[in-house]
Symmetry: C2
Subunit: 349 residues, 2 copies
């Protein structure tokens, strides 16, 4: 475990001073250091595999080119981390690195995680959550440029820019897809109240109906939870022992797991999808929606784009003038994307 080469080692090997090494390796050699020395320095650096100590750099420059990403449970939960992936894409392309800390849903850990990150001189902070949700901004976040991804500040006077999916439009377009297939009786398994995404998707569902002049039957929309069993039991309630005329011809689900449950129920009841029943998912969960049989038509959450957009605005405020911050809008909405597969089709009859 021999220690890494330092600038001094390079200087000695090249027979120059540390300052010269610094200048040359930072591209400010021309006009300051003799061409010949420059070559020797570069040569020596290569030989010793020299790369500057980032710690020393941070201390000196008071900035680290590190962005701290704080996650509520993105890492540890069984949901994909494409928000972080997208954020990282952008960060790397702009010469920053990201480090992730996951608090496993324990908000008591937020403050200390942020303190840790701040103590390490991160240049910016991003808070990212698995599902859309309001959060209380941890104190430390306002001391450094910060951004929220998939979550937002509930305060009347929000302090931080946030990037979230456009759930209302998502819900509307999903419903419109079904409407276009001729469905007029579309049930909605709407997730549960604990998530702000649920009512927004319901709102979209209503908007689509009213735009199309189709009345919403209130008994067809209900909060069902988010998991397979909820979808299963919800579908059973809707379909089991009901005459074909009284059945909804399509079930729209607030996520893909619910849709899996619905498909399972339909199968047990001998209903063919999409011939007898169309099923619509939401989220486009990797390895679920695309591999179901039949593959699930769904409304894809733009996770990657959310991460990219959030990181872009963050880096813009870090690198651009800080002064403009107040001028920009505090919210970015990213559209969801309809993915048509095989679980939806024309309304029966």
């Amino acid at each position: 475990m021999n220690r890494k080469a330092t600038a001094l080692d390079v200087a000695k090997l090249a027979g120059v001073s540390r300052s010269a090494v610094s200048l040359v390796l930072n591209g400010r050699g021309d006009g300051n250091v003799a061409k010949e020395s420059q070559d020797r320095i570069r040569q020596a650096a290569k030989e010793l595999k020299y790369s500057p100590n980032a710690i020393a750099l941070s201390l000196r420059n008071q900035r680290s080119r590190v962005i701290g990403i704080l996650s509520d449970e993105v890492v540890v939960s069984p949901f994909d981390g494409n928000i972080i992936g997208g954020a990282d894409d952008i960060a790397r392309s702009r010469g920053f690195v990201t480090v992730v800390m996951d608090t496993e849903r324990d908000t008591a850990r937020d403050a200390s995680a942020i303190e840790t990150l701040l103590d390490r001189q991160v240049d910016g902070l991003m808070y990212v959550t698995v599902g859309l949700k309001p959060i209380e901004i941890p104190q430390g976040m306002i001391r450094v440029p910060s951004v929220l991804a998939n979550c937002y500040d509930e305060q009347p006077q929000p302090q931080l820019h946030h990037v979230i999916p456009d759930e209302v439009t998502g819900g509307r377009e999903a419903t419109e897809h079904l409407l276009q297939w001729g469905h007029r009786d579309i049930a909605l398994l709407a997730g549960s109240e604990d998530s702000p995404a649920a009512p927004l998707r319901v709102q979209g569902y209503r908007e689509a109906h009213s735009l199309a002049g189709v009345p919403v039957r209130e008994e067809r929309v209900f909060m069902a939870g988010w998991d397979i069993d909820a979808g299963y039991h919800g579908a059973m309630k809707l379909l089991d022992d009901v005459s074909p005329a009284d059945r909804p011809t399509a079930i729209m689900c607030a996520n893909d797991r619910l849709a899996v449950g619905v498909a399972l129920a339909a199968a047990r009841l001998g209903l063919s999808v999409p011939r007898d029943l169309s099923i619509m998912g939401y989220d486009d969960e990797a390895r679920i929606a695309d591999t179901m049989v039949p593959a699930l038509t769904t409304m894809a959450l733009p996770l990657r784009e959310i991460g990219r957009a959030a990181m872009t605005t963050l880096l813009d405020t870090i690198e651009g003038g800080e002064g403009t911050t107040a001028a920009r809008s505090m919210e970015t909405m990213v559209p969801c994307r309809l993915v048509v597969r095989e679980s939806t089709g024309p309304a029966p009859r």
Copy 2:
């Protein structure tokens, strides 16, 4: 964005020198600093919310109390990150913090990520993968204490300790559970060759059979992939249009998604689970196995434990004597855990 208080600020406020501040705040005040000064210092520190600059500390001490976690795709994939969660538990409890970098399956990024981490003086490195897999150790990892979680070095002379699940025993015990229910014709959907876990689970399946004196019917085990559709089509091959007498009475799957596909196929064929067919999963994927209808009996992967064990051995070598490294075994196997739910039951007839 007023800068954080430094030790000097505290010293000034308390009317002492920086050194005194340092001593007191590090618990070495007694016998060196007057009781009264100590109180003033602590008071001042609290007042200014002083916490030492971790960057300066790292530079000074040549160690950072940070462990870098390099993930192939744990963060970004739709599989849960409990290995990282478990590792983080241990690290925090021992006064370390972890930072995660995910390379999104791009091994070309390994080296640079490690370089970044090393430049930031991480005290140790952990490489973690989503599924069990052999990896090529990135150069930089041997320059600092390191450990592998859920992956291993293929070299004849492995350099790094690794922690992996005991897949053979897992496969065996899963099969034994089915055997105990009286099943004698157990099909196996075995994942695919590209994962080293698949053949190990198959081996366990064979061992259980031979231990029980039940012959394995070779046409009943086949590589099927890992996703819902693979499970569906595999099950259809096994069950559709076959007389009850020729059907396997149980299907064991190499993961839970396959089991979902099998359940779907069974439902379409009018087969009741577990009355007509028992289904066994593997992995105990959160929000899949536990929420299926019926809930999936499965062999849980000890992800959390793997992370904890890996971090424990890593920190032991960092904090304990470095000399003992060579003496310890290079492999830790963590047992899987059978989770009995409702998808398995007595063999029909």
